[in-house]
Subunit: 203 residues, 2 copies
C-alpha cells in the first residue's frame, strides 16, 4: 500500500483552518493528528482519540530521542505531535493532517522532510481583520495581538510549499485545493527517485 502524506496545515487566526481541516479529516483516506499531552484526561476524554495521554517522563524522553515532531508547553503541561503515532497512520496509507503553528512546522520539516507544508490564508489581511472582528468573540486587545502575530507568522511563509487562499464562504474550494495538492504531490518526481530503474525492472 502506498504510504500517506504528512500535511502540515498552518494559518493565522481567522484563516478558517479549523473548518477546512475538520472537513478534510472526515474524507476518505485522511486522518487528523492526535496530539500527546502530559495533562490529565478530563471526564469523557478518551486516550488515543482526544489526546495520547502520557507521563511527563515519557514526554521528555520522547523529546530527547527526536520522537516529538514538535511540542510546546502551556500551563505547566506539554503538548506535542508524536512521531511514532504519525508514522503508523501514514503506513496505513492515510494522509495525516497536522494543524500546527509556523515554528512547529519548521520542526516537522526538519525531522520529516517529506512533509508538505501548506499555509491557509484569507485573501487579504483586510479580510482577516474583518473576520476576527466580525466573529465578535475576542476583545480588541486580543484581536490586535493576533493581527500582530500574523506578521510574525508570515515571515516564515517562504519555507512553505503551498498557499491556499480561503475566500469568504469557500472552505470547500480549500478542501479541493488540498486534495489536488495531495494528488499532484504523489506524481511529483521527487517522490519517485527510482522511477527510471523501477520502470525497466518491474514485471
Amino acid at each position: 500500500m502506498e504510504k500517506g502524506l504528512m500535511l502540515v496545515v498552518s494559518g493565522p487566526a481567522g484563516s478558517g483552518k479549523g473548518t477546512v481541516n475538520g472537513r478534510l479529516s472526515k474524507m476518505d483516506g485522511y486522518a487528523f493528528s492526535v496530539s500527546a499531552t502530559t495533562r490529565a484526561p478530563r471526564p469523557g476524554e478518551v486516550d488515543g482519540v482526544n489526546y495520547h495521554f502520557i507521563s511527563r517522563e515519557e514526554f521528555e524522553e520522547r523529546i530527547a530521542r527526536g520522537d516529538m515532531l514538535e511540542h510546546t508547553s502551556y500551563c505547566g503541561n506539554y503538548y506535542g505531535t508524536p512521531l511514532k503515532e504519525a508514522l503508523e497512520v501514514l503506513e496505513e496509507g492515510k494522509n495525516l493532517i497536522l494543524e500546527i503553528e509556523v515554528e512547529g512546522a519548521m520542526n516537522v520539516k526538519r525531522l520529516y522532510p517529506e512533509a508538505v507544508l501548506i499555509m491557509l490564508l484569507p485573501p487579504t489581511f483586510a479580510v482577516q481583520e474583518w473576520r476576527l472582528r466580525h466573529r465578535g468573540t475576542e476583545t480588541e486587545e486580543v484581536i490586535q495581538r493576533r493581527l500582530a502575530r500574523t506578521r510574525e507568522e508570515l515571515e516564515l511563509l517562504g519555507e512553505y510549499d503551498y498557499i491556499v487562499y480561503n475566500r469568504p464562504d469557500c472552505a470547500e474550494d480549500c478542501v479541493e485545493d488540498i486534495r489536488a495538492i495531495v494528488r499532484a504531490e504523489r506524481c511529483s518526481l521527487r517522490r519517485h527517485p527510482n522511477a527510471k530503474k523501477a520502470y525497466f525492472e518491474q514485471d
Copy 2:
C-alpha cells in the same frame, strides 16, 4: 484574469499520450498547442487550426529570435511550437498542452522556465512492450526501435516535474492527475513570490 499554465506532456510510444491529451484539451480552460510548419496546407487544412502555416524565411527568423519554443525538421520542412501564439493562449487564461518529445521539452524549459513538465508512462516497460505489440500497427523492427528510444527518452526523466502513470484503461485517471497538478501548481509558493507583500497591501 489568471494566466494559464504551459503544460509539456511527453511520453514514449504506447504511453497513451494522444488519448490523454485529446481528452484534456477538450476540457474547459484547456487548449492544445497548434504547431507552426513550413509545409503547404493540404486540402481541408485550416491555418491556425491544424497548423500555423508560415514561410521558411519567417520560420528561420523566429528560430533566430527565440520565438520557437522548440522545433524539428522532417522531409525538408520545419515543424515547431511558436512562442508568441502560446503566450496569447496563456494570456486568455487557458492551460496550454504541448505534446512534444523530451529534447523539445528541454528547450521549452530553457525558454519558458514556468512550464510544467509531465512525463506520461505506462506502469512498466513490460506493459509498454505489450501495448505496442498488441495494437499490431507496427513491424517488429519499428517496435524494437521505439523500445530502444524509450531508454534514451527516460535519460532525461530527472528534468521533469511530474510522472503520471497510465494504467490499462485508466486514461481518465491521468486526465484527473494532470488537472490536480494544474490546481496544485497554482497554489505552489514559487508561483506566488510576492504573496507576503500582496497580503498586507491589498484591500
